[in-house]
């Protein structure tokens, strides 16, 4: 736990969200001045209007939503499996999405259909784990985890197969997708309804998440229907992950590192942790994507490389500091 009040942390994160979006709009191959940016936001005419509103804004919002959804899904998965190594992709959802997306690329489908294919692949993978793990009824996180991890390995093999079979000219696109890339990303409006809705449901059950992290028996003894709660969490996390993966491919580390980092900063009460993780994940990915498209300008890096390269040392630092404090 940190020395700061939760309200201070949450409001700082809110400010960070706002700033990260501003920076994403300002910085790029052409640096827009603060003055121009202000004029554009206040709906005045400006030569950079199209650049900012048509190119940078959709991409910044895509990064923002994707980061928030991945961080939220990561929090949920870690409670569900009561395993700190769990991330949104652990159950093979990104693998299923990747197989479907790469197959679509292999078949030469239109670029606009790739996210649809990815979403369908992710949902199919989720249903497969659901059917495999359900067995004779009661929830078992071990069986769930095993089915998911084995399925993920299977998807991995299929991805390698598709990469091996794919023509050379589509390999670059496939690899970028696999590393997570926001260059052509945009957020369909349904996500702007679904994401807040799912977040709200998660917040309603936030105290139950605290109880569930004490173990299934304890949670049941404290009045939780753990079976129903577990399936609800799995469903929420899966849909969030599927949407994120459909928008941006499989961006790593955000869903693993942001929840842990926020636990170290704000504690493990999910009523504070969930909003903190959503805001931190959203601003982290927005800033990471801004870096990805500026750091080796005019080249663009897949944002997944940036999240890994910055996320790992950041997380290790927080862990080191937490150890010193205790």
């Amino acid at each position: 736990m940190s020395r700061f009040q939760p309200i201070t942390i949450l409001s700082s994160l809110g400010v960070l969200c706002f700033l990260s979006l501003l920076v994403a709009l300002k910085v790029g191959s052409v640096a827009v001045s603060w003055n121009d940016l202000w004029l554009i936001i206040s709906a005045a005419e400006n030569p950079w209007k199209d650049l900012v509103l048509q190119l940078r804004l959709p991409r910044a919002l895509a990064a923002f939503a994707t980061g928030g959804m991945l961080a939220l899904a990561g929090c949920l998965m870690q409670v569900l499996l009561r395993n700190p190594l769990a991330d949104p992709y652990i159950m093979g959802i990104s693998g299923g999405a990747a197989c479907a997306a790469l197959s679509a690329m292999l078949l030469g489908l239109a670029a606009s259909l790739i996210p649809v294919a990815a979403f369908i692949g992710a949902m199919a993978s989720m249903l497969l784990v659901f059917a495999l793990a359900r067995g004779d009824g009661p929830w078992s996180s071990t069986r769930m985890l095993l089915s998911g991890v084995v399925l993920a390995a299977g998807w991995g093999a299929l991805i390698s197969l598709i990469l091996a079979l794919g023509p050379d000219n589509s390999l670059r696109g496939m690899l970028f997708w696999l590393m997570g890339d926001l260059s052509n990303a945009s957020v369909p409006s349904v996500v702007w309804v679904a994401f807040p809705g799912l977040f709200l449901i998660a917040m309603l059950r936030a105290r139950s998440l605290n109880i569930l992290s004490l173990g299934e028996v304890t949670a049941a003894a404290l009045g939780e229907n753990t079976n129903r709660l577990s399936w609800l969490i799995y469903l929420l996390a899966s849909i969030l992950t599927a949407m994120a993966v459909a928008i941006a491919g499989s961006i790593g580390f955000v869903g693993l590192i942001i929840p842990h980092a926020m636990r170290l900063i704000i504690g493990s009460d999910h009523r504070l942790l969930l909003p903190a993780a959503v805001m931190a994940g959203a601003s982290f990915l927005t800033l990471a994507d801004t870096l990805a498209r500026t750091v080796v300008n005019p080249l663009q890096l897949p944002v997944g490389i940036i999240t890994a390269l910055t996320g790992v040392p950041l997380f290790l630092y927080l862990l080191y500091r937490a150890k010193l404090q205790s």
Binding site: M1, Q78, V79, R82, N83, P84, L204, R205, R207, S208, N210, I211, S213, L214, G215, V217, T218, A220, A221, L222, G223, E224, N225, T226, R263, G267, S268, D269, R271, S326
Partner: protein, 267 residues
């Protein structure tokens, strides 16, 4: 007794794969009764406690829980309704993420709170009082995983107190506790049961604590048989020797009975 029992079992049977632990248990616990649940390792004490708490299904028979002077079948009640009526102190509680002591003890209020509700000042007051009662007053902000075995045991006990249920099921509450704290929790239980008319069923290996504080005994032999009744009718060196398959000697002194294992007899 004419009053409604807090909980009642009818022809309850418990099985684990390959073995029948308990057959046709017909048993009632009333307010103001403190039951010791004794038996050898693996005789089904924990299984019985978990079954009574509705966490596992019995193989036959049924369990009824009192709700406003009426007995209702356990399987018809929601988990939340059950948690408002009975609390279970488990043998082990695992913590996968780092919660503070205060957060942990407040989790006992979970069944009392609705979806949108936060803990009120009254809930905090209750939680802090329970921590004080369990000698944990200055540990509010400690991380649960940093507590010693005895401290986390007392924390679990405090959490159970905060749940404020009429019926308490305890699985070896005195484990890991030093003698002073063993007496502390047994006296707290006595106060709850005899003064405030709660009911408690306590799985316990320490016969002397059981003999000194409990009013009734439920003995599980682990082969389907059981014995239930007021303490003095059930606890005897002959019965205990049979139960533990080891000679147990009873010494009578001015404050009651003292039980001690005798030397192993050569077979």
């Amino acid at each position: 007794m004419s009053t409604t029992p807090l909980l009642q079992t009818t022809d309850l049977g418990l099985k684990i794969p390959g073995r029948c632990l308990l057959e046709e248990l017909n048993w009632q616990i009333h307010a103001g009764e403190m039951w010791a649940l004794i038996g050898r390792n693996g005789s089904g004490k924990t299984t019985l406690l978990h079954t009574l708490a509705g966490l596992r299904k019995p193989c036959c028979g049924h369990i009824e829980l009192a709700q406003q002077q009426q007995l209702l079948k356990l399987e018809l009640l929601s988990r939340k309704q059950i948690a408002l009526r009975l609390a279970l102190l488990q043998q082990h509680v695992s913590h996968s993420f780092e919660a503070t002591v205060l957060q942990m003890v407040l989790s006992g209020r979970h069944p009392h709170l609705g979806l949108w509700q936060r803990e009120t000042a009254a809930d905090y007051q209750l939680a802090r009082a329970a921590l004080v009662a369990m000698d944990l007053a200055d540990m509010e902000q400690r991380i649960v995983s940093s507590l010693s075995g005895g401290e986390s045991r007392r924390l679990a006990f405090a959490t159970m107190l905060v749940q404020e249920t009429k019926l308490l099921l305890l699985d070896e509450p005195s484990n890991h506790l030093d003698l002073g704290h063993q007496v502390l929790i047994m006296e707290k239980l006595q106060e709850l049961v005899f003064k405030q008319q709660h009911g408690a069923l306590i799985a316990i290996h320490d016969l002397n604590l059981a003999a000194r504080y409990c009013s009734h005994v439920l003995m599980l032999f682990g082969d389907g048989r059981y014995l239930a009744g007021p303490l003095d009718d059930v606890l005897s060196s002959a019965r205990l020797s049979e139960l533990y398959q080891h000679p147990i000697e009873q010494m009578i002194w001015d404050q009651g009975s003292y039980f001690s294992p005798g030397p192993t007899t050569p077979r």
